[in-house]
Symmetry: C2
Subunit: 451 residues, 2 copies
């Protein structure tokens, strides 16, 4: 049972429902859409990410012999046999990864026999929620610190290994420059960065000796951590070392500051480096950073060239989840709508049309039913038919380029980190008519008391 690809990566109620569908022969086509109910107060937009992993999951979906054994101990034998043949054979429509998206827009639509479409709910939400969450947070960092070098440092406090790896992917996708997480490099072809921790300095008897040893061991990657003891004293050591290293043809690329008042230390260190004839040595900062800290440091004019952003990025610390849902929109050709208080959904198969102003900035979206053709740029496309992708996986670099364009097209109010700015998503008349007609049918549920 592979912990990342197992068909048992689902909620138990999916299995009990599947047994019910199996016994009733309910296998007609179901349409589910994955969407975000509302934006967190701390976000003006979201960056969609995670589609690639969602498609990989659907392509590989099957129950292993060991999993079927576990199931047949708890469910009927015919049901276990039925599951042994289950594969994902449906269609997937989606908005491309790296796109700016808003509440109620169908990020992903699954059209498949009801049991298949039901089973995959838990893992699809799990994958799309995480990466969309992190990409949206990372985009805010990119907006806060334009032209700064931004690296994901968050693996250690990410929620497990998969979270750290997918956070590295989502952060790079959204415009950051790379990650410190090694395994993300071979898995996703993301640039990887890192030089030394405090322990490297502490393990040496002398800080200057630690710097010198590191420079000889990693001559192309000399970025020295200078806050283990006294930051400015260490900066003076860097100046002395730079002169001696240059005689050996070696160059110090930069220093990193990881504690204290980063702006204040950076100014003092910049002065020491410049006075010492090292204007080319860059300053990199880290330590409890997020988009708000970046914005303050940049507005302050702190002489910092790059930032490592860790825990608060990889956990999306101010808002560690999205209000993601995956809801039945249609079954056996009939539109459906959930009516629970505060959680009503728009029924049917939907499309989003995006409108831009004359400068190419986002103006508004229209949410409508798929058959209601509208002007504007349609966002939802077919990506998988009959369980097979209709195109090769999109390269991450291409998604990253799309995302950069998307962020550049955000209207100014939506780029604000602090002020909530609304974005108009028009609900079409056709969709409102559809919802009303579904509600009418639903009303009968109120009065009918018989089973």
């Amino acid at each position: 049972m592979d912990p990342l690809t197992s068909a048992l990566l689902t909620d138990f109620y999916q299995l009990t429902m599947l047994q019910g569908y199996f016994e009733q022969g309910m296998e007609e086509t179901a349409v589910f859409e994955l969407f975000v109910r509302e934006l967190p107060a701390e976000r003006n937009f979201l960056i969609l990410a995670g589609l690639e992993q969602a498609l990989e999951y659907l392509e590989g979906l099957h129950f292993s012999a060991q999993e079927l054994k576990w199931i047949s101990d708890r469910f009927s034998k015919p049901f276990a046999e039925y599951l042994s043949r289950l594969r994902f054979s449906g269609d997937v429509h989606a908005i491309p990864e790296g796109t700016v998206v808003f509440p109620n827009e169908p990020l992903l639509r699954i059209t498949a026999p009801l049991p298949q479409a039901q089973l995959v709910e838990s893992r699809l939400i799990n994958l799309v929620n995480l990466q969309t969450l992190i990409a949206s947070k990372a985009a805010r960092c990119v907006i806060a610190a334009p032209n700064k070098f931004l690296v994901d440092f968050g693996f250690r406090r990410a929620h497990g290994a998969e979270a750290g790896l997918l956070a590295a992917r989502a952060a790079y996708l959204a415009g950051m420059d790379g990650t410190a997480t090694v395994l993300a490099a071979p898995l996703f072809a993301i640039p990887v960065f890192g030089t030394m921790a405090h322990s490297f300095v502490q393990a040496h008897e002398d800080e200057g000796m630690a710097f010198e040893n590191f420079a000889h061991a990693q001559p192309d990657n000399v970025l020295l951590l200078i806050d283990t003891y006294y930051t400015e004293a260490a900066a003076h050591k860097v100046v002395g070392l730079a002169a001696r290293l240059s005689q050996a043809g070696l160059r110090i690329k930069g220093v990193r500051i990881d504690s204290g008042d980063l702006a204040d230390h950076a100014r003092k260190v910049r002065a020491i480096l410049d006075d010492g004839g090292c204007p080319e040595v860059t300053i990199f900062a880290s330590g409890n950073l997020d988009e708000h800290a970046l914005e303050r440091l940049v507005k302050d004019g702190a002489p910092i060239d790059g930032f490592g952003i860790g825990t608060r990025l990889d956990t999306s610390a101010d808002r560690p989840y999205l209000d993601c849902a995956y809801k039945l929109q249609e079954y056996a050709g009939r539109p459906r709508r959930k009516y629970s208080e505060g959680k009503a959904t728009w029924p049917g198969r939907k499309q989003v049309y995006r409108h831009f102003d004359q400068q190419g900035r986002l103006r508004n979206d229209s949410l409508t039913v798929e058959t209601d053709l509208k002007p504007g740029k349609p966002l939802v496309n077919l990506v998988m038919r009959g369980g097979k992708r209709i195109a090769a996986p999109e390269p991450l670099a291409q998604i990253r380029e799309r995302c950069a364009v998307e962020i550049s097209c955000l209207p100014e109010p939506l780029r604000s980190l602090d002020s909530p700015a609304p974005y108009l998503v028009i609900v079409s008349e056709a969709l409102q008519h559809l919802a009303a007609s579904v509600d009418e049918a639903t009303c009968s549920q109120k009065t009918s008391r018989a089973g």
Copy 2:
């Protein structure tokens, strides 16, 4: 490259430091301790969890051929050859899982050749941070709702698959009754629960028919979701159905409410069920719950028998990370101490002695150096010697029992969900002397400016 066990699940700086250690022949014994710097404002105590996964990781640590290929493209060949032989051969001391712990206490101590002890930092923090975070949150839910049936519902919004699985383990360890995450059952032997989602009801033309079909498909597990349309109307259907099912020898165990004012709905539904001759049908509630919501519902006397707690538990939403650190305490027999502003650490190999009052409740802890024997219950024990465990993995059920005792021994102020309550961790004189002597040696770093 297995995404959950790869030796590349680390920060790139660990590899660059290891190359430096390799070139300098720095392989003497290092002592690192993993601890939490300070409690979040929202927590009065932590429950330690994740040790089992940390030990599994250390036991299995090695670089695969593919990983070595990746490394040899970026580092020297002799270094890659050196890494091909690297295994974890050190000792591990730890506090048992399920124990109540506080800041600065050594949760885990690694004593190993410097490169080994360095390499494992990132993944050890990653594993212990996550489970300790979730177990601590779950313990608060257990305190808020004593004698209620509590189930983890959070997989879908957990940060990836591993996060969801380990959250299920941590929540069960801390006293919850089970999880909805199927794969956690075979992996960790955790009870798994679930019946139906709204889509099951919506896929049927009629809500009552959905209930009836489910009862026949899952006769031992009839818990019906009643808020898809109109909660109280659905409760009346349940009453009607119960009578008919009982003729067939079937029993409705309970109903679930997932939206709206849970206390208000629960009261109305309870009355409908009781008036309808169904006093034995239980009420289960879910939807945006956390320990504060549980506390309010319990204090209100809402007639709810059990709760599903999802997103806010699995993401520890009010505080999605701990200030965990893994710091070098000693190298080559000499104690070390990091001095960065606001991040100074206590040096040396440490032990914690716990003191109890006459009622068996926690009174205070003493943090001291390992050689300074004190009265009280020592918390830190040897668990791995020379890379091998000294005992079989501790059964989860046993850890869960320990945790229940630990929670029962919390003094009343620490059990408060809202009021911060301090707990005294005395820093021994011996430890303060040691820190001062390390600082004295460190002072030389300030003035020495030569490399």
